[in-house]
């Protein structure tokens, strides 16, 4: 009985002490980064995303509001259940304050559910699907780097404007592919174009010849690739091999990362138009940061990786400024201020969680135009944030 009393006393003393010490729960800021470390998306996110988050933390001196900042990472293998379990474990047992990266829509959606229950911040960089800031939105989620809406308003619109008014989709058969197809369909139809059909291919698919042949038979002017990573590069290779482009049809790679262009080689990738949220060779600031990233990883950053840095840095800035890692306090601070760094000039976070920033329409250079590895894009035009992401009124997020 006596021991029990002592224990109870001790516990309450401890509780009081921790409540008094700071606004920072458990005395440190902990960021949990979930990404694809070894699968299809590991080049565009993966270890490079981890490196970007580490750089952001180091640049903040590994401290925020006088408390140490810690990064924990895990491989979610592009599987929603693994992502959800890890996020739950981190949130409950390890006092993780924010989740970051989350390539692959299904994993981001799963972590959104956990973060909603636990009231944690989510900084989504890798996942693309627009439902994250519409029906599936949560008050503490930020969709940071890009979205299927922006891709549709970028590449989709540009292709239609050039006369590509009949479309056929090759769509990765999961949430992301379907969201991208739906968003581009809206843009195409609004511009008076027509969608002749689509194929939902398994994710990941290894052979695209059959799908390319069906797309060829559709007679559509534009074959829209609503997929990503290796699926996109393999689809482009098959389209070239089966003479799709030679036959007068064109390919719209609706989501393409610089790592995909690097993997394909300029010989195959030249001329492809794409929408990106970031390119390393834009100005002195982007070059300076990207050179540092290159030194560390041996590769130039994808937009997802640059977005991870920017989102983590902004989150730490919010903690530093408010002196708290309380989700609501931090979210409020972040929504009230523009993001101004090498990644997003004057970016703003809307109440539906959308980070609105300028996007870029780029064309892949030919081998002759390129001065060497990673000199891949010619920026055709800047797409103003509002045009890329639409307005808040368009969002169907219930808590906006």
């Amino acid at each position: 009985m006596k021991t029990l009393k002592t224990l109870a006393l001790g516990a309450s003393a401890l509780a009081m002490a921790s409540a008094a010490s700071a606004e920072i729960s458990d005395g440190k800021v902990k960021i949990g980064l979930l990404t694809d470390m070894s699968g299809t998306y590991s080049d565009l996110a993966g270890p490079g995303a981890v490196a970007a988050a580490e750089m952001a933390i180091e640049d903040a001196g590994a401290m925020a509001a006088g408390m140490p900042v810690e990064l924990v990472t895990a491989d979610h293998q592009n599987k929603a259940d693994i992502a959800a379990n890890k996020a739950r474990e981190w949130g409950e047992a390890e006092q993780v304050d924010a989740f970051a990266e989350l390539v692959t829509t299904s994993t981001a959606m799963a972590v959104y559910e956990i973060a909603k229950q636990q009231n944690k911040v989510v900084l989504v960089s890798g996942a693309a699907s627009s439902p994250l800031t519409n029906d599936a939105c949560i008050p503490s989620g930020i969709h940071y780097t890009y979205s299927t809406t922006a891709l549709a308003n970028g590449t989709g619109k540009a292709v239609v404007a050039e006369g590509g008014d009949s479309w056929y989709f090759l769509t990765a058969d999961y949430a992301f592919g379907q969201a991208l197809e739906a968003d581009v369909t809206k843009v195409v139809e609004a511009a008076g174009g027509q969608v002749l059909g689509s194929i939902r291919h398994p994710f990941p698919a290894s052979d695209f010849s059959s799908f390319v042949l069906q797309a060829q038979g559709s007679g559509a002017k534009v074959i829209g690739l609503a997929n990503a990573g290796a699926d996109t590069t393999n689809a482009i290779k098959a389209a070239n091999e089966f003479g799709l482009v030679a036959g007068g049809q064109s390919i719209a790679a609706l989501l393409m990362f610089i790592t995909d262009v690097h993997a394909l080689g300029l010989e195959t990738a030249q001329g492809i138009q794409l929408t990106t949220g970031f390119y390393w060779d834009m100005d002195d600031e982007t070059r300076a940061w990207s050179e540092r990233f290159m030194e560390r990883t041996g590769k130039m950053p994808s937009m997802v990786q640059a977005g991870v840095y920017s989102s983590v840095a902004f989150y730490l800035k919010a903690i530093e400024a408010t002196g708290s890692d309380d989700t609501d306090t931090v979210m409020e601070w972040m929504r009230d201020r523009p993001i101004d760094d090498f990644f997003a000039k004057g970016g703003t976070i809307r109440s539906d969680g959308r980070m609105v920033h300028d996007m870029y329409l780029a064309r892949v250079k030919s081998p002759g135009e390129s001065s060497g590895p990673w000199d891949y894009y010619e920026i055709l035009r800047t797409i103003p944030g509002e045009e890329a992401y639409g307005t808040l009124e368009d969002s169907t997020c219930p808590t906006k």
Binding site: S38, G39, T40, Y41, S42, D43, L44, G46, D173, I199, R200, H201, P202, P204, A205, S206, D207, S209, S210, F211, L213, Q214, Q216, G217, G229, A230, T233, N234, K237, A238, E241, F242, G243, G247, T259, D260, H262, A263, L264, G265, E267, T268, K299
Partner: protein, 296 residues
């Protein structure tokens, strides 16, 4: 017409059947290698996909670092990777002779993970491009589809490899020894035949076939560390359907499954990754030893 009833013009159907045959050729060569290995070593070689990937990467490396072209790689890569396989057999797999299948499966699965992990670390998951050999670029318009010369070549090369394997195993003295080795290794050894050497050679040959398929695939898909793991599960299903250890069964089933998958890609694309497993389940219920397997 059946095709009209289903709402697809015959051209589409012919095209898909031809493509199915091409993919089936890959399945055939890969499952053939698995069948050879299982037949002689009683090992379920889960490293097969990784070795197929190694074949493609060897071709890429030969071109990148030594400037050797596709045709050289088509012979050199299977030899190099086959030699690597013989090393694996000699120093690792041999220690598992006589123990439960499960151990061989675990070891080879672990090897596959290690090999893939190393290559992801070295080259990244997106992989490297490998050009189509100049002599086989372009294609021919068959009326119902455009057939790239290279894909046509894949079918020819695969059938040659399968035919050669069948000939070696069924019509040569070496093949007779190999078959005898599966039936009764002790007795064969008593006749003065070096059975351990035969086993090593057989594993090397199976691995060489995987590498050969890898070189064939290199110009078609990205040469990526993950190319094998995407394919290997399907190939295992093919081997199970055909009957573990049956050479003819592996080839015929490989081609047939390619065709079935090709048709599914037209009628129900979402299910194309699943249809082979459905066939596998049905076959396992009706004929547990596989279509061409003998009941033990």
């Amino acid at each position: 017409m059946l095709t009209d009833l289903l709402g697809f013009p015959p051209q589409v159907l012919f095209g898909q059947l031809l493509l199915g045959l091409i993919n089936g050729a890959f399945y055939a060569v890969l499952s053939l290698g698995l069948a050879v290995i299982f037949g002689l070593l009683n090992i379920v070689n889960f490293a097969h996909g990784a070795l197929y990937m190694l074949g493609a990467f060897t071709a890429w490396g030969l071109a990148q670092f030594l400037g050797l072209n596709y045709w050289v790689a088509l012979f050199a890569a299977p030899v190099i990777v086959g030699a690597f396989g013989m090393g694996l057999e000699r120093f690792l797999l041999r220690r598992l002779a006589g123990v439960d299948h499960l151990y061989g499966l675990l070891l080879t699965f672990g090897l596959a993970l290690v090999i893939e992990g190393v290559f992801i670390k070295l080259f990244g998951a997106s992989g490297q491009p490998y050009p189509t050999p100049a002599a086989l670029t372009g294609g021919i318009n068959l009326g119902f589809m455009f057939l790239p010369w290279y894909r046509g070549w894949v079918v020819v090369a695969s059938l040659i490899a399968c035919g050669a394997t069948w000939y070696i195993f069924e019509r040569t003295k070496l093949g007779a020894y190999l078959r005898a080795g599966t039936e009764n290794p002790k007795l064969l050894q008593a006749f003065g035949v070096n059975v351990p050497l035969l086993t090593t050679l057989a594993y090397g040959y199976g691995v060489g076939l995987a590498a050969f398929a890898g070189v064939l695939a290199a110009p078609i898909t990205q040469v990526s560390p993950l190319m094998g793991s995407n394919l290997i599960i399907v190939v295992f299903a093919v081997v199970v359907i055909g009957g573990m250890g049956s050479i003819m069964g592996a080839v015929v089933t490989g081609l047939a499954m390619g065709l079935i998958e090709g048709l599914t890609k037209v009628f129900w694309p979402e299910a194309s990754a699943t249809v082979i497993f459905l066939v596998m389940a049905i076959v396992l219920v009706l004929r547990p030893a596989g279509l061409f397997g003998r009941v033990a």
